[in-house]
Amino acid sequence: MSFKKTPEPARPAAAKPKSGFSRRGFIGVGLGSGALGTGLLEKEGTAAPAGAANVAGPGPVPITLNINGKPMKLNVEPRVTLLDALRNHLDLTGAKRVCDRGTCGACTVILNGRTVYSCTVLAIDAQGKDIQTIEGIAAPGKLHPVSQAFWDNDGQQCGYCTPGFVMACKGFLDEHPNPTLAEVEHGLGGNLCRCGTYVGVRKAVLEAAKAIKGQGGKNG
């Protein structure tokens, strides 16, 4: 059972929506997630007047994402999640698609300094934001202190949840540089592991906090 992160709004309240589409609406169809999904789709889909200036799609649209400090251009349908854009279009496969419904945290990336489930963010809505993925947290050939701590404490087995855990841990330590064990358990409760690496993960997070402090608080 997970303590989930407070759902992050996909966009700051002030930002102008670029799309009238809801991902929940699309994924709801045919997957049995019920009235909520399809209801949103109908409402939002019909709410936008024909020819409205800020309606994108439904075909692929050119977008630019600022990933790990570099602008990257790609063409995606407006319904494509940030996760799928990273994985399928940019070959940034560190973020994993596991639950695809904002439950497990395997797809965690850092968006404008906040950890988000990239499966719940649309790629087009991530434009103009700083997107940090696990591929961008350390120099080539180097390990980020959090990655190092996961290795040192064997907080990994099959490793499929590990990149998401590492990113969630990095984001957590940015906000909680001196965490207690209870804070770690709560703060990283939104990431799930199936192999059972939590004993190592707990140690890793506490050790990473110390390592980062030892480096003058520089966390990537």
Partner: protein, 718 residues
């Protein structure tokens, strides 16, 4: 060639084996650079998506793929279930579409028009009286005279225990990338069986197994559910062929994964158990049933551990129930968790009935273990009780302090086989001193890479870093499926043999320079030297230079039909104790501490061995507290085919876990024994017993969720 004794070096002389070396693939995994099959990308990659059956039981009457095929971007459509096909569970594969993007493939899969004749279904097995023809009882199995034994017993307890179907829920869903060009196939599957995956695909696609190349570096979880190519491997191949040989990625969506790609059988049992005042159990009787989905399955070996070994009287009737749901697959110690849960629950209830400390009743019950294991179990019981602070913390059932939050302790026991699977290894020593070890095995996250390198380095007298490793391809020497905790037993022996054979060749070429016979040489601390004479030695690199222009490359093999005493072994025992608190107002169970005492043989890497045990217990705690597949009889559907309502334990659910690996010379001499499964067995048993001890009544149904706990407290049968 110099002959080198293959026996493992004595414990005290080992330099690399036995070290807590960090896992070899750790940096690749924790930096996100490890590429799993599901991470495969290429310019011409096609994405495939299934159309699946929404009914638990139906016949396909019509299928029309024309609209899907005409969709722009669709490259191929493959129909799995033609008109007339009878579908036996929800989520079953009907057709698959491959397209240039995942979005197009999803849209097109929905455009496939399928008409069904809906047929009657059964998707729940909890009420056996409603199973009708889906349930056919097996014969009665009787040993001794159970009726007389019950008459003679000082105490008799009757109980009911159930454990639900749970799903493997591998984080990387089942699937593969397959490219079929001409008469050859290249496959990148997520599999526990790199070596023979091709053999299983071959007859289905009529391509020679030798022409099917398989490669896999990393797998995102398997737990017994990911061996063969399955229908999705074949579908990906056919889509690739239809699409002119472009690679096709077909991985199941999470909801389909939960429905069709692996689950563990349930078990239900009405048990009557009897015995003497001194705690000796004399008789066990059970009417049990279980489902493993449509193919039935699930037959827990109860009474656990004692059945084949000495339980004097028992009567058993077991009924497999075939339901309209995805078939079960092997799960980390198949059938053992269920058997341990039912048996240990009954033992604990019997102990409460006769007012005895369960440690003493288990001690007597384990007299019925295989003879070679009885003393081990007794030592383990004592050690586990000591680590759990049993003497201070235990109280008779329901008699603990506390008003609304009650504390309890419970015991679970385990056994498992192990041994080694067939494995071949090639060790190559190059003139520059580099060493390459090649095995067509796979590392499921258990640490296989690391332990192979440790064995090779130890055998060559080199540091761990002196050995390079290649695994994960069927071009490499043949290994076998990773299942049954047999991998470490197989690869360690094949590696030892290949490496010593190569070292023997190196001794041959180095001996003249040392003025000695090859048989007089040894490899120690990066040197080849005359035994016991450090002055007559060559550094590793200068010895390897004597190889000249070629290289030394030797094979080694472990054949599971030929035992290798002292090298690997099978048969292990384990005792675990859960310490829990139960909130009797909310029904929430919190595990305070968990103790595992695990029988083991020679431990190659204590860090990774401990991780296996931690992992097994954490997975077990997840099943004991949260997991169950929920089926709706009305619609025939699985109600929680996701990770939102199919609950897994999180970081905050896991207590302090105390692992005691029984590392002793006596155990070490048995050789290497796998640890993936044995510690995964008794968690439900231990947690269930601790809850009963805490609240004073048995919660019959796993998981120990608030509704089940509150039902038991209120005297309701769920």
């Amino acid at each position: 060639m110099a002959n080198i004794a293959e026996q493992w070096p004595p414990m005290e002389t080992r330099k690399v084996m036995g070290q807590r070396i960090k896992r070899a693939d750790g940096p690749a995994k924790s930096s996100g650079h490890a590429k799993y099959a599901s991470d495969f990308n290429s310019k011409d990659l096609l994405f495939a998506v299934y159309n699946t059956c929404p009914y638990a039981h139906a016949r396909v009457t019509k299928i029309d793929t024309s609209e899907a095929e005409q969709t722009k971007g669709v490259a191929a459509v493959h129909v799995v279930a033609q008109a007339g096909a009878e579908i036996q569970w929800e989520g079953a594969e009907i057709a698959a579409v491959a397209a240039s993007s995942e979005e197009i493939a999803r849209d097109a899969a929905r455009k496939i028009k399928v008409e069904y004749e809906v047929l009657p279904h059964l998707v729940r097995e909890d009420d056996l009286s409603k199973a009708g023809s889906h349930a056919v009882a097996g014969g009665e199995e009787v040993v001794g005279d159970p009726d007389k034994a019950f008459q003679d017993a000082d105490g008799v307890h009757e109980g009911f225990y159930s454990i639900p179907v749970i799903t493997h829920c591998c984080l990387e869903t089942h699937g593969s990338v397959v490219q079929w060009q001409g008469d050859s196939i290249m496959a990148w599957p997520s599999t526990q069986d790199v070596t023979t995956w091709n053999n299983q695909l071959s007859p289905n696609v009529k391509v020679a197994a030798a022409n099917i190349k398989v490669k896999m570096d990393y797998i995102g979880g398997g737990f017994g559910s990911k061996f063969g190519p399955d229908s999705w491997g074949e579908a990906a191949a056919r889509l690739s062929q239809k699409a002119g040989g472009r690679p096709v990625k077909l991985f199941l969506e999470r909801s389909t994964e939960q429905k069709i790609a692996g689950n563990r059988p349930s078990a239900f049992a009405k048990v009557k158990i009897g015995g003497k005042k001194d705690g000796t159990i004399t008789v066990f009787q059970a009417t049990s049933w279980a489902t493993g989905g449509f193919t039935g399955g699930g037959s827990p070996p109860i009474p656990y551990i004692s059945k084949q070994n000495g339980m004097p009287n028992y009567r058993l009737v077991h009924t497999p129930v075939h339901i309209n749901a995805g078939s079960s697959r092997a799960w980390r110690a198949p059938n053992n968790q269920q058997a341990s849960y039912i048996t240990c629950s009954a033992i604990e209830d019997f102990a409460a009935k006769i007012d005895m400390d369960p440690v003493e009743v288990f001690r007597k019950a384990l007299e019925y273990a295989p003879k070679v294991r009885v003393e081990t179990y007794k030592l383990q019981l004592d050690k586990a009780a000591e680590l759990a602070n049993w003497k201070q913390r235990w109280h008779p059932r329901g008699k603990g302090a506390g008003t609304t939050v009650k504390h309890g302790l419970g015991i679970g026991v385990a056994q498992w086989g192990g041994g080694g699977h067939n494995s071949q290894c090639r060790t190559t020593i190059n003139p520059d001193g580099s060493v390459l070890v090649e095995i067509g095995t796979q590392d499921l996250g258990t640490g296989t890479r690391t332990i192979i390198a440790q064995v090779a380095a130890e055998s060559l007298g080199l540091p761990y870093s002196g050995v390079k490793l290649a695994i994960g391809s069927n071009d490499l020497p043949r290994d076998a499926a990773s299942g049954g905790s047999t991998t470490v037993g197989g690869v360690s022996v094949s590696t030892r043999r290949a490496t010593l054979a190569a070292l023997g060749k190196l001794f041959d070429v180095a001996a003249p320079a040392l003025g000695a016979e090859p048989d007089q040489l040894e490899a120690v601390d990066g040197h080849i030297r005359v035994k016991g004479n450090p002055n007559k030695s060559l550094t590793w690199v200068s010895a390897c230079k004597k190889i000249g222009t070629g290289k030394i490359s030797e094979m080694g093999e472990f054949n599971s039909r030929q035992r290798a005493p002292g090298m690997n072994d099978q048969g292990v025992a384990g005792v675990q104790i859960a310490d829990v608190s139960v909130d009797t107002e909310t029904g929430i169970v919190k595990i305070n501490k968990y103790v595992a005492v695990q029988d083991c043989g020679l431990i190659i890497n204590p860090r990774l061995a401990e991780s296996q045990i931690y992992g097994a217990i954490i997975m077990g705690i997840s099943t004991a507290l949260f997991e169950q597949r929920v089926m709706d009889e009305q619609t025939g559907r699985m109600l929680n085919p996701d990770m939102e309502f199919y609950k897994l334990a999180g970081l905050g659910d896991i207590p302090e876990i105390v692992v005691h690996l029984d590392i002793r010379e006596e155990n070490d001499k048995r050789g290497v024994i796998g640890l993936g499964e044995p510690p995964a067995v008794p968690i439900c048993a231990a947690v269930g017993n601790a809850v009963a001890n805490a609240i004073g009544v048995r919660v019959p149904n796993m998981p120990m969720s608030p509704d089940h706990v509150l039902d038991a407290l209120a005297g309701r049968r769920a």
